[in-house]
């Protein structure tokens, strides 16, 4: 821990600097690869949608004698011939999913299950989803998604810069695509709780980006006049200065989400908590990655295209809008900041 804290100081002064902005091609390629892979698996495999989206019925029987065979037998007894999935959840639960049933079929099946498992009808947990319900919630989720993106973009454009808004939104879309891709690849079930998770990731990823951009804004204030450093370098310093915070924040966010995941998947077996926290868990990791490696480099790229910033880059001594990726960056910012810190340190001891 202490080593990490010391690292914070070095990162702040720019003595240790990871060149996120300069090496952006690496991150871009890495992300492009992930996005392509996501798109491919999404089209090839599709998402494993829960019954909430397709319509259908789900029954969960909780009893120590829970077994797939009895459940199968019950379906036969109740003359339910639709497609079905029978799963053992945890040690004492069995879950049966079928296509949409009529009320009569539903009560027959519940009664049969109660009889065969020797439990009361009331103790069976059930969920019945109408066929048009999925469209409805998908539509609402999409409205929510676009509404949110629009509002946040306006907010960022107003309080920060238009280019920051664009970069932040690109980073968020990046996160969603990759998270969805991971879901398609691994075949995790997508339920409304997963959608809540996705939407929360948007908020979280933007939140993370906002903190980094706030520092970028501070570092680049009046940068064109000072002529000491280029936009990219100042932005990169900002990323490095906030990286300890980003790391701490992500960890602090992952700890509670991880505990929901642990409880949801481990103790409860399946359901809202597991679906929600799994989406959050994956999304938080991509969100932290994107605010550091995608959002800021895109912002720097956009800003470096401006004539004022190109002129600045020339004055500072790098060629054109190419960002210097070698050690001089580090040395420069160190010599830039070092002396200011030196004399005061003894006083503080």
């Amino acid at each position: 821990m202490r080593k990490l804290s010391g690292l914070g100081g070095r990162l702040y002064r720019g003595e240790t600097s990871i060149d996120f902005v300069g090496k952006r091609k690496i991150w871009y390629s890495f992300s492009a690869l992930l996005i392509l892979a996501s798109a491919f698996t999404l089209f090839a495999q599709g998402l494993h949608l829960g019954i909430e989206f397709k319509g259908g019925s789900s029954f969960t029987v909780t009893t120590p004698s829970a077994s797939i065979d009895i459940a199968k037998q019950s379906l036969t007894d109740a003359q339910i011939t639709t497609q079905n999935i029978i799963q053992k959840v945890g040690s004492d639960k069995v879950r049966i999913q079928t296509d949409a049933l009529t009320s009569l079929e539903q009560s027959t099946l519940e009664a049969t299950l109660a009889k065969n498992f020797n439990v009361s009808v009331e103790s069976i947990d059930s969920q019945i989803i109408g066929p048009s319900w999925g469209e409805e919630i998908t539509r609402k989720a999409l409205y929510g998604l676009f509404g949110f993106l629009l509002v946040v973009m306006l907010y960022l454009a107003m309080t920060f810069e238009a280019k920051m808004a664009i970069s932040a939104i690109i980073a968020v879309i990046h996160d969603v695509v990759i998270t969805v891709g991971i879901y398609a690849l691994v075949g995790f079930e997508v339920t409304p709780a997963t959608i809540i998770g996705f939407l929360t990731i948007l908020g979280y990823s933007l939140y993370d980006t906002v903190v980094v951009f706030d520092k970028v804004r501070e570092n680049t204030k009046g940068i064109a006049a000072s002529g000491k450093t280029t936009y990219s370098k100042a932005a990169n310093l900002a990323v490095n200065q906030t990286i300890v915070r980003s790391f701490n924040t992500s960890l602090v966010a992952l700890l509670p989400v991880g505990s929901i995941l642990f409880v949801g998947a481990g103790l409860l077996g399946a359901g809202t908590l597991k679906d929600l926290s799994l989406a959050l868990f994956i999304g938080l990791i991509t969100g932290t990655y994107s605010s550091i490696c995608i959002a800021t480099p895109i912002l720097a790229g956009l800003r470096e295209k401006e004539p004022a910033m190109q002129a600045l880059a020339k004055r500072v001594g790098t060629r054109g809008d190419k960002v210097s990726t070698n050690t001089p960056t580090v040395v420069e910012s160190k010599s830039d900041r070092g002396p200011r810190n030196q004399p005061k340190r003894d006083r503080r001891r």
Binding site: I128, A141, K215, T249, L255, I260, L273
Partner: protein
Amino acid sequence: MSANKVANTQARAVRTISILLLSVLALTGLSFVIGATSFKLGLDLQGGTSVTLQPRIEDGQTGRVTAEAIDQAVEIIRQRVNSLGVAESEVSAQGTGINRQIVIQVPGETGRRIVDLVGQTAELRFRPVLAEGAANATPLGTDPTASVLPPGVTPEINAQYAALDCTLPENRQGGSSGNEAATIVSCDRAGINKYILAPAEVLGRQVTQASALLDPQGASGWYVTLEFDGEGAAKFGAMTTRLTSLPAPQNQAAIVLDGLVYSAPRINEPINTGNAQITGNFTQLESQDLANVLKYGALPLTFDRGEVQQVSPSLGADQLRGGLIAGILGLALVVIYSMLYYRGLGIVSVSSLMVAAVMSLLSFALLGELIDFTLTLAGIAGAIVAIGITADSFIVYFERIRDEIREGKSIKSAVETGWVRARRTIIAADVVSMLAAIMLYIFAVGGVRGFAFTLGLTTIIDLIVVFLFTKPLMTILAKLSFFNNGHPWSGFSAKSIGMVEKNPQKTGEVSNA
């Protein structure tokens, strides 16, 4: 910073914290006074049935779902559900505008019956009244087989009429609009009268317009006008022409929605124009209610069963326990991490988290009492996720203070200047988080809304805690020599913030070893 100014800042900090803590205490007192000592738990945590219905226009009909129609539908369904007599059952419309869902929530195990009950279409019909009586009146005539029965009333119907007790809520359930060609017995909605009604002569769909108006002369007060389409006008004309000549109560036409009589006005004259007025000593509200009933009848909604969820009390208890364990575990992990990483500062972060936790729990209890806020599993998850957001505000602030110290400021002034910069970041980040919560709340249904609500609520609490507790606490602590002198355990030691990279041997002497 002058000594005077520092003293001022200190005094203000103490005052701010005191005010916040006193407010929390006062709110705690308030919650005891108004009896908000426990949380309202959602059905997924206490067990019960929840049905979400999607209203839509019937197939083959044209027209649009209106907001009033949905409100009326909620009324109809509430009537059906309340007849079951389950305490705390709730019927509400969720979502925005005409795109709303109707959510029915019935706690406990009795709710299974409602699933079939709530989904049926409610139809409006105009039926001539054959007989009218008090809610628990005896059969017409002393001898049920006597010939004094009004035309159209068979002895069987008379027996049904005698058996019907409209004072019992279960007999005022509605849910079935009945065969329109049959003679039926029916209660009025309030359970005051009961009726024998002839086959329907005019259907709700034949109504084109209905509105509540105030007579400008004030003679008849509030009244309701209604218009029929061509077919409706002809049938209504025929019915009214026939009824006006009959003795009471057979000169009345009942307006029956969902099997219940909403009004049974006397027909004064034949109405052949297709425009009718219903007068009576209506209040504004009564006339508007009746107009809404008629409008709803013009375009009855069908309800698609969107989602039916039946949670047994034992699963509910499991989920509640799971949510609580996850919350405590998450909080504990964050506390351990902040203590390890921020040392002395960890105390600030932990106490702030505790204040935030107390405020959140208090708000859940108070809002449960005041606006019927129910805590669901998704809501608990939202609150747990918010632990991270709240803790992040401290991290942003602490890192800012450390940055200021690295710039060479004293701890006392770093706490103040760092705050000015951290404040802006925290506000920006919380606004984004708040926007997410608001958009989720507006567009989502069911569980998502619970999640969005707690996320938004805890974001506000985060702002309150950071501004009114964490920052003043830092100001106070910065005066203590433990922090001010950068004690190795304070989280501000030169070593832990990396001030000493170039002269590591120097720090060796720092501690009092």
